[in-house]
C-alpha cells in the first residue's frame, strides 16, 4: 500500500481524508486505484494531475515505480509559460 497525500479541495471526495492508501507499484496503478476507490476524484483525474514521488514531479510516466515507503503527493497539473 502507498500513502497518497491529496490536496485539500479534493478531500471532500476522499471521505475528508487528506492522506489515503492505494495499492500501487507504479504511477498508472496509483491513478487507476485512486479513481476506483474514490470515484469523486475522477473529474480531477480526467482534467489532469501531476504526482510528486519522493520529491520529484511526474506528469505522464505510467510505469514510474513507487515504493511502499515513497512519499506520494497528488498535485494540480503543472502548467508553464
Amino acid at each position: 500500500m502507498v500513502a497518497v497525500t491529496v490536496f485539500g479541495s479534493l478531500a471532500r471526495f476522499t471521505d475528508d481524508k487528506t492522506t489515503v492508501e492505494i495499492e500501487a507499484s507504479n504511477l498508472r496503478e496509483l491513478l487507476e486505484g485512486l479513481g476506483e476507490k474514490y470515484p469523486g476524484l475522477k473529474p480531477q483525474l480526467k482534467r489532469g494531475v501531476s504526482v510528486a514521488i519522493d520529491g520529484r514531479v511526474y506528469n505522464d510516466s505510467w510505469f514510474q515505480p513507487i515504493e511502499p515507503d515513497s512519499e506520494v503527493v497528488l498535485l494540480a497539473r503543472l502548467k508553464g509559460g
Binding site: 490536496f7 471526495f13 505522464d60 505510467w62 512519499e71 508553464g80 509559460g81
Partner: protein
C-alpha cells in the same frame, strides 16, 4: 521511456558547457535575414483578416456575410458556423470558441468573422461589409465584481465539482493546499498582518505579433507555418478542430520574436486553415499590435487576501492566502499554480491557500512566465516584508530563518530534495548591494521566488555527416537560446568543437511528439535527450571502430572526440576521430546517428532572491529603478550569457508589471490602451544594468545538473519592487502597477 531521475547526474569537468560561445542565430536576427512568422510567403497566397467584437459582452443575433462574399477579390469568409464544436473536449473547444465567437462575443476584440482576399485593402473593405447584429449585454471585467451577487454571467454550467453550491456561476473551480492548523499557528504570533493585494493583467509583450501561413490541399493534407512556442501543439490542436489525422498536417515553426508563454496556444491558425480550405489558396494572417493586446492572452489579474503571523524574533507561525484569479472569458486561470507556489519558499508548520478560478469579460488568459506565481509572491513577500520591518528585523535574515531547505515539507505537500533557496539568500546577504548606502526618498526591497519546472515529451535526432560534422534536430522552437545550448551539450558529449555542431528546429513531420517550449523545460529535457542521443551515436562509432580494428566493441572507449582501443587484448591502434569514422561509415554499415525519444520527468525546482533599489519622487509619484541584482539557482549554466539574459528578462518584465503595465478598461468594457504607446513596457532607458549572480547547484535529474531558469526570474520582482517603493515612499503599496498616479495618491493619503 521514462528516465530514472535519480541516477542522471554525474560530476564532470566541462570543456564546452559553461563557456560563452557565439549564438548561431545572432547575425541573421540583427541583419534582418531571420524568417519570422510574417516573413513566410507562398505563391498565390491570400491575405486573411479578422472582424472583432467592439463590445465586451454581446449576444450575436446574426451575421450577414453576403455583401463581403460578393466583393471582387474576396475568396472566402468564415464564421463560427464553419466550425464544428468539440463536444468531448472542453479544453480544445474553449480554444476554438476563443478563435471564433459563437452565440456570444465575450470580450472586446473577440473574433466574430474572418475573410481571405487577394489583398489587404480588399480584405479590410470586406470586413466593413460584414453585418453583425449584436444584443449588447452587461459586462464585468473586475475579478472581485465578477463574483458579486447579480454580476453578469458569462457561462452557465461551467463550474466544476469543487465549487460550492450557490456560488457565482462565474467561479469555475476552487482549490486548496496546505497542512497544519493555521488558526492555531496564527495564535502563537506576536503580530499578524492581514492585507489584501491586487494585481492588474499584463501582456507577455513579445515583440513579434502572431502570424501564420496556412495551405490545404485537395487530398486532405495541410501545411502551416507559424510563430509559436510549440508547433506540435499547433498540429494537435488544429487536427482536433478539423478532425484531421495529425500526420496529415505538417507544421513548421518560424523564428520566434518572443513568447513568454503567450504562444503556447493558437489564435489564428484554425481560422487561417479554414480560410485556406474554403478558398483553395494559401492564406496568410498577421495580427496588428492592437489585435495582440485585445485578443491574445494576457496573464490573469488577481485579488489576494493574506494573513501571516510572526513572532518578534522573526519566526512565521502561520500563513494563509486566498487567491482569486480571473482567466478571461474561459476557464483556466493559473490560480492552482499560484496557490501551490505562494508559500513554497518557506518551511511552515501551519499553512493554507485557497484559490478560485473566475471568468470575466476579458481575453482568454494565456500562460505568462511562471504562470500564477508572481501575483501570489507579490502578496506573500509584501506581508513578510512588512512583518520583518515592523519588528526591526533584517528582511533577509527573516527569510533565512524561515527558508525551505532539504527535508522541508513544502506548502504544496512535497518534501524537498536538495534546493538552492538558502544559497540565494546567503549570497544576497553577503553581496555589496545589500550594504550599499541609500539616499533620501530611496528604498531597498528584497523578495524570494519559486517555480516548479517540468520535462515532457521530447525527441532528438543527432546525425553524423560524412565529413565529420554533426547536426542535431530538435522539436522545440528556440525562444531562449536552445540551439546554442543543444549544440554545446552535443559537442561536450562528443568531445568535438562547438562549431562542428549545428542544431535545427525540425517540423512536425520530422520527429515524434514534442511538448511545447514552456515550463522552463527545454534546456533540461531537450538537453538531456541531446546528451542521450550523442551517447547513442558514440556507442555506434565505437562499434564501427572496433569493426575496423577487428576487436570487440567492449574494448573501445570514446574520449576527446575519438574512439580509443583500451582493452588488455585490444592491441595497438591509433585513435579514430569522429571525422575518420564518419568518412568510412558507408563501408562499416551506413550512416551513423543517435536518437533519444523520451519523457524526461524529474525536473528540479528553482528558487531566486531579487534585490532592488528605487527612488520615488514624492511630488509626482514616479519611481526610478536605481539598482537591481538577481540571485538564482540555475543548476549548471550551459551558456551563461543566455542564463543571465533569462534572469535580466524576467526581472525587467517584472519591473514593468510592478510599475506601469496594466490593462485599462473603460466603463463600456473596452480596452483603452491597446498599443505600446499607452501600454508601457520598460525600455532600456528606464532601467539600470540588471546585475546577476548565477548559483550552480546541480539538479540530480540531469546528466550535467541542468535545471530550468526561464520562469523563476519573474516571480520575485513584483514584491521586491513593491517592498522597495513602500520603503522609499513610507507607505505600504498593495496594488500594482504602482504607476505615478496610484503611488502619488497613496503618498497623499498617508
Amino acid at each position: 521511456m521514462a528516465l530514472d531521475s535519480k541516477s542522471e547526474y554525474d560530476v564532470r569537468t566541462f570543456k564546452v558547457v559553461g563557456t560563452r560561445v557565439q549564438r548561431p542565430d545572432g547575425v541573421d536576427k540583427v541583419t534582418g535575414k531571420a524568417r519570422f512568422g510574417a516573413d513566410i510567403t507562398a505563391p498565390g497566397m491570400l491575405t486573411g483578416l479578422i472582424l472583432r467584437s467592439p463590445h465586451a459582452h454581446a449576444r450575436i443575433r446574426s451575421i450577414d456575410t453576403s455583401a463581403a462574399e460578393a466583393l471582387p477579390g474576396v475568396h472566402a469568409v468564415v464564421t463560427s458556423a464553419d466550425f464544428t464544436p468539440i463536444d468531448d473536449d472542453d479544453f480544445t473547444d474553449d480554444i476554438l470558441a476563443n478563435c471564433m465567437a459563437r452565440d456570444k462575443a465575450l470580450y472586446d476584440g473577440h473574433a466574430v468573422a474572418a475573410v481571405a482576399a487577394s489583398s489587404g485593402h480588399i480584405a479590410k473593405a470586406a470586413l466593413k461589409l460584414i453585418k453583425v447584429d449584436y444584443e449588447v449585454l452587461p459586462h464585468v471585467t473586475d475579478v472581485d465584481k465578477a463574483i458579486e451577487p447579480g454580476a453578469p454571467v458569462l457561462h452557465e454550467g461551467r463550474s466544476d465539482e469543487t465549487v460550492p453550491e450557490g456560488a457565482s456561476p462565474n467561479i469555475i473551480s476552487r482549490c486548496e493546499f496546505g497542512h497544519g492548523d493555521v488558526e492555531a499557528g496564527l495564535a502563537k504570533a506576536d503580530r499578524v498582518v492581514e492585507r489584501s493585494f491586487k494585481t492588474e493583467a499584463t501582456h507577455q509583450g513579445y515583440i513579434e505579433p502572431h502570424a501564420c501561413l496556412a495551405q490545404m490541399s485537395t487530398d486532405g493534407t495541410a501545411d502551416l507555418w507559424c510563430c509559436t512556442q510549440g508547433h506540435y501543439m499547433v498540429r494537435n490542436t488544429c487536427a482536433a478542430i478539423f478532425r484531421m489525422e495529425q500526420g496529415q498536417l505538417r507544421v513548421t515553426a518560424s523564428e520566434i520574436g518572443g513568447g513568454f508563454g503567450g504562444k503556447t496556444t493558437v489564435f489564428l491558425e484554425p481560422v487561417a486553415l479554414m480560410l485556406a480550405r474554403k478558398s483553395g489558396r494559401p492564406v496568410k494572417m498577421v495580427m496588428s499590435r492592437s489585435e495582440v493586446l485585445r485578443a491574445t492572452g494576457p496573464t490573469s489579474s488577481s485579488s489576494v487576501d493574506v494573513r501571516i503571523g510572526m513572532t518578534k524574533d522573526g519566526k512565521i507561525t502561520g500563513a494563509f492566502a486566498e487567491l482569486r484569479y480571473q482567466g478571461g472569458a474561459y476557464p483556466g486561470s493559473p490560480v492552482e499554480m499560484g496557490a501551490m507556489s505562494a508559500f513554497a519558499a518557506y518551511d511552515l508548520e501551519h499553512v493554507k491557500t485557497v484559490g478560485w478560478d473566475i471568468v470575466c469579460n476579458r481575453p482568454k488568459q494565456a500562460a505568462y512566465r511562471a504562470p500564477g506565481a508572481p501575483m501570489a509572491a507579490f502578496a506573500v513577500e509584501s506581508a513578510i516584508d512588512e512583518l520583518a520591518k515592523g519588528f526591526g528585523l533584517d528582511p533577509i535574515e527573516v527569510r533565512l530563518k524561515n527558508a525551505a531547505r532539504e527535508g522541508t515539507k513544502s506548502s504544496y505537500g512535497v518534501t524537498y530534495p536538495a534546493i538552492g533557496l538558502e544559497a540565494t539568500l546567503r549570497t544576497a546577504r553577503d553581496h555589496p548591494h545589500w550594504k550599499a548606502p541609500l539616499g533620501p526618498n530611496q528604498g531597498r526591497g528584497v523578495a524570494c521566488g519559486f517555480w516548479f519546472n517540468f520535462g515532457g515529451d521530447t525527441c532528438v535526432s543527432l546525425n553524423i555527416t560524412p565529413d565529420g560534422t554533426v547536426t542535431v534536430s530538435e522539436g522545440n522552437p528556440d525562444i531562449g537560446g536552445s540551439r546554442a545550448s543543444m549544440s554545446m551539450m552535443a559537442a561536450e558529449e562528443l568531445g568535438i568543437p562547438y562549431e562542428k555542431v549545428r542544431t535545427i528546429v525540425a517540423d512536425t513531420g520530422s520527429l515524434g511528439q514534442n511538448e511545447v517550449t514552456d515550463g522552463s523545460r527545454v534546456t533540461f529535457a531537450v538537453g538531456l535527450a541531446t546528451i542521450k542521443a550523442a551517447r547513442a551515436a558514440k556507442a555506434e562509432m565505437c562499434k564501427r571502430a572496433a569493426m575496423t580494428w577487428g576487436i570487440d566493441p567492449e574494448a573501445v572507449e570514446w574520449r576527446d572526440g575519438a574512439a580509443h582501443a583500451t582493452g588488455h587484448n585490444a592491441g595497438e591502434h591509433p585513435p579514430m576521430t569522429l571525422a575518420e569514422i564518419a568518412a568510412i561509415a558507408s563501408n562499416t554499415g551506413g550512416p551513423i546517428a543517435g536518437h533519444c525519444e523520451a519523457n524526461p520527468e524529474g525536473a528540479g525546482v528553482s528558487f531566486a532572491t531579487h534585490m532592488v533599489d528605487t527612488e520615488v519622487d514624492p511630488d509626482t509619484g514616479a519611481t526610478k529603478i536605481l539598482r537591481y541584482t538577481v540571485f538564482q539557482d540555475a543548476g549548471k549554466a550551459v551558456h551563461p550569457d543566455y542564463v543571465e539574459g533569462q534572469f535580466q528578462g524576467g526581472a525587467t518584465q517584472g519591473i514593468g508589471w510592478a510599475l506601469n503595465e496594466e490593462y485599462i478598461y473603460g466603463e463600456d468594457g473596452t480596452l483603452q490602451n491597446p498599443g505600446f504607446l499607452d501600454y508601457r513596457v520598460p525600455v532600456a532607458s528606464d532601467l539600470p544594468m540588471i546585475d546577476t549572480v548565477i548559483l550552480e547547484i546541480p539538479n540530480p535529474g540531469h546528466p550535467y545538473g541542468v535545471r530550468g531558469v526561464g520562469e523563476t526570474s519573474i516571480v520575485p520582482p513584483l514584491a521586491a519592487v513593491a517592498n522597495a517603493v513602500s520603503e522609499a515612499a513610507d507607505v505600504r503599496m498593495t496594488q500594482i502597477p504602482m504607476s505615478p498616479p496610484r503611488l502619488l495618491s497613496a503618498i497623499l493619503a498617508k
